[in-house]
């Protein structure tokens, strides 16, 4: 009975935190997010050097062979630092490839992902906010795909993408490589500029089938939900820390505003909500690998809860910063925008709560 991190996990978190603090402060975050691609290959290479994209990839494929919890700890740190780039896209694709059990595709792509030499993504969401692979309108026929995926993270930057589609009404996963015939990309004007989104359209685009059924897609979605929850925890924590620092230094009416009870109580309420929510994402990540009958439901609960909490944290932070918090120059909006991504990507909180209710048999 041990619900805590190992020394190695603490070291992993500390290493990523230190690296991002030293190498990717908000000046660099802004430079990357204002670049054309929103992707900084040098930064990604350095993160790969720390092992980040390969954490959950099996050792025989060049990864560290760790668990979703370890990936989630990295996600928390990237959320804390508002790190721009394809981390979530790659993690989703990695989980889909791993769960698809397609050896040739794994051998071709997983080592390249782990080494930082390939960017992959998962194309799942469609029009009408549809994330259910069984209802995908993207269809497969004769090893080609036709249809549209509306919000694909780093679709333009990806060397290949895992696509959820249906074939004769049956869900499955396919792989499409960059530059494939009939594949067109339209960048979206993403609110969160640190995580780019593209609309990907497939018109009889050649594709390789990875897996039949919905299991692999569900597995990737659950991993994604947990990683978003972890990102939200990291971001909410950062908002709390920034705002506490501000309350300790900003003076009005002849005293630091942190001495006003109205300010203290807002920050105390936020602290009281954030502290226990750490355990919710930890548990969901742990369940993903160790408690199969709780994994799906806890992923849904954690994403809904933490994304909501992140939303409240950014709201309190902005309000307590006053006018400065509403400016472009001040960094707070980086996290505000990431909170919008976390609440909306893979579906809103109400959708996942309804799924959790159904999974409980209610």
């Amino acid at each position: 009975m041990n619900f805590g991190l190992t020394e190695e996990q603490v070291l992993l978190k500390d290493t990523i935190r230190r690296f991002l603090a030293e190498q990717c402060d908000t000046t660099r975050v802004r430079a990357v997010m204002e670049s054309e691609t929103g992707h900084d290959p040098a930064l990604w290479r350095d993160l790969a050097g720390l092992g980040v994209p390969g954490l959950a990839i099996e050792e025989r494929h060049g990864g560290a062979g760790l668990e979703l919890l370890d990936v989630a700890l990295a996600a928390e740190e990237l959320g804390y630092a508002a790190t721009p780039g394809p981390f979530l896209a790659v993690a989703l694709a990695t989980m889909a490839l791993t769960a698809s059990a397609n050896r040739p595709a794994q051998e071709r792509w997983l080592p390249a992902i782990a080494a930082g030499n390939a960017i992959l993504t998962l194309a799942l969401g469609e029009d009408d906010c549809e994330w259910d692979p069984a209802r995908a309108k993207t269809t497969a026929a004769a090893n080609t795909l036709t249809g549209t995926k509306t919000v694909v993270p780093y679709g333009a930057a990806a060397d290949a993408m895992v696509v959820a589609a249906t074939e004769s009404g049956e869900p499955g996963l396919w792989l499409v490589e960059r530059g494939a015939a009939g594949l067109s990309v339209r960048p979206r004007a993403g609110i969160d500029m640190t995580r780019r989104l593209d609309r990907m359209t497939f018109d009889r685009t050649p594709a390789t089938k990875l897996a039949s059924g919905r299991a692999a897609t569900d597995r990737a979605r659950d991993a994604g939900l947990v990683l978003i929850a972890a990102d939200a925890y990291g971001g909410a924590t950062r908002c709390l820390e920034m705002t506490t620092q501000y309350a300790l230094t900003r003076e009005q009416f002849g005293q630091t505003i942190g001495a006003f009870q109205a300010v203290k109580h807002q920050l105390a309420d936020l602290t009281a909500e954030i502290e226990p929510s750490l355990s919710l994402y930890w548990y969901a990540a742990h369940a993903f690998d160790h408690i199969p009958d709780k994994a799906e439901r806890h992923a849904a609960l954690a994403k809904a809860h933490l994304a909501d909490l992140y939303d409240r944290a950014t709201r309190v932070a902005t309000e307590l910063h006053g006018g400065i918090g509403f400016t472009w120059e001040f960094d707070l909006h980086l996290w505000f925008r990431r909170a919008i991504f976390d609440r909306s990507f893979l579906g809103e909180a109400g959708h996942h709560r309804e799924r959790a209710a159904a999974l409980a048999g209610w």
Binding site: G4, G258, K264, E275, L278, E354, A357
Partner: protein, 418 residues
């Protein structure tokens, strides 16, 4: 991270089960008297009859209860092992066996005496308190001193080897039934407010004590006003040094917050609310099928699970000998706020059935939910109101400045724990 129990702990669980199978039988379980009043909604009812006491003595002897209390003072005296404690608690609950006596005496006074009392006080009070043979109330709040407790004015003046007490306490839970009171009184009227207080043990049968029950919003009578008119208390009943009562009382409050912050009651209330939603119809369909109710149930369950897993995290920190830091400060505010929100949802599931309460023969769940809703406000206030908790979190947890007007002694901020 590994949520399974080690082989050693699994063996220990079997040991505890074997002990319970032998010592707390179906006959013992059947003898549990029905709860009185509505206080059991807070999980506060504990049997202390002969049968329960006989069992408790065996359980203490086996090292299952009061593990942190030395044997010479009536405890089980075991090396600290929070996981074994969790196992014992789980198994005792499963067997519906008498647990440690909860309440002001065993949970608050006994730990305080262990830390601050002298040997004479320890031997006189701890053993009987742990068995529920001496019951205690807490004489802290006064009409003019609630959140600003250190401003209290009940005074004690020395007359030979006795303190003579005059004053007025209020919101004193169980004063009408308790044998003794642990009490804060002002003994040094000229000292700064935190330095002029002493911590006394007062026999409630002393002449000059007048207890007047107060009826609560639930209709129950649990708390009281207590008036002191030249009440004489032997000087030897002072715990810690004269004038140091504020410091002595801090260890007590710490234990009270841990007591009120537990999640078992919240879990029971949540599970009860789910059953309510499954069992009651709302305009032609089970309430559990109402999309708004489903959504709110899952939202509350997420908070409940967060608080339960947070408990695992704190347990692990304890097992590793690490400090709780900021993580330990939030449990009371989080759990009591959640408890309130769960009972609010139950009220909405009841809809117009929440118009009636206990005593109405058609009321669902014997009308307990409207009462629980009221009680949930009571526990937001008890043991330091929600706003006092927020001050503590902001000052000790985040290092924000104290409000100079409060005049509290400075405390060091806690670190964020792993």
């Amino acid at each position: 991270m590994d949520l399974r129990y080690s082989q050693e702990h699994e063996r220990f669980r079997q040991e505890v089960r074997a002990f319970l199978d032998t010592n707390w039988t179906d006959e013992d379980r059947a003898s549990t008297p029905p709860p009185e009043g509505q206080a059991h909604l807070l999980g506060a009812v504990v049997r202390t009859d002969e049968r329960a006491t006989r069992f408790r003595l065996k359980a203490i002897d086996a090292g299952y209860l009061y593990r942190h209390v030395p044997r010479r003072w009536g405890g089980g005296e075991q090396p600290p092992d929070p996981i074994k404690e969790k196992i014992i608690h789980e198994e005792f609950r499963r067997a519906q066996a008498p647990w440690e006596v909860v309440g002001q005496g065993a949970s608050m006074l006994a730990p305080t005496l262990l830390e601050q009392g002298n040997d004479k006080q320890k031997s006189r009070f701890i053993r009987d308190t742990l068995l529920g043979k001496i019951t205690w109330c807490q004489g802290y709040s006064e009409p003019g001193s609630g959140s600003d407790l250190a401003s209290l004015r009940t005074r004690a003046e020395l007359d030979g080897d006795h303190w003579v007490i005059n004053g007025h306490k209020i919101w004193t839970s169980d004063a009408n039934t308790s044998d003794w009171m642990f009490c804060l009184v002002r003994t040094e009227p000229d000292a700064p407010k935190h330095d002029g207080i002493s911590y006394l043990l007062i026999d409630m049968k002393s002449p000059g004590i007048d207890v007047r029950p107060l009826r609560q919003m639930t209709g129950d009578v649990q708390f009281n006003e207590v008036f002191f008119d030249n009440v004489r208390v032997p000087v030897e009943n002072t715990v810690g040094k004269r004038g140091q009562g504020w410091t002595v009382s801090r260890s007590t409050l710490k234990h009270e917050r841990a007591l009120i912050g537990g999640t078992h009651i919240t879990r029971r209330m949540f599970d009860g609310t789910v059953m309510l939603a499954q069992g009651l119809a709302l305009r032609g369909r089970p309430a559990i099928q109402d999309p708004v109710i489903r959504n709110r149930l899952v939202e509350l369950e997420s908070r409940l699970l967060a608080s339960e897993y947070h408990g695992y995290r704190l347990l692990t920190l304890t097992a590793r000998g690490a400090e709780w830091g900021r993580a330990g400060l939030v449990t009371k505010l989080y759990a009591t706020t959640l408890n309130y929100d769960i009972t609010r949802l139950a009220m909405d599931i009841l809809s117009d059935r929440a118009l009636v309460g206990p005593g109405d023969e058609d009321a669902p769940a014997m009308g307990m939910f409207p009462t629980a809703y009221m009680w949930s406000l009571g526990i937001l206030i008890a043991g330091g109101t929600a706003n006092i908790q927020r001050n503590i979190i902001a000052e000790r947890g985040l290092g924000l400045p104290r409000d100079p007007a409060l005049g509290r002694p400075k405390v060091e901020p806690l670190r964020k724990s792993a």
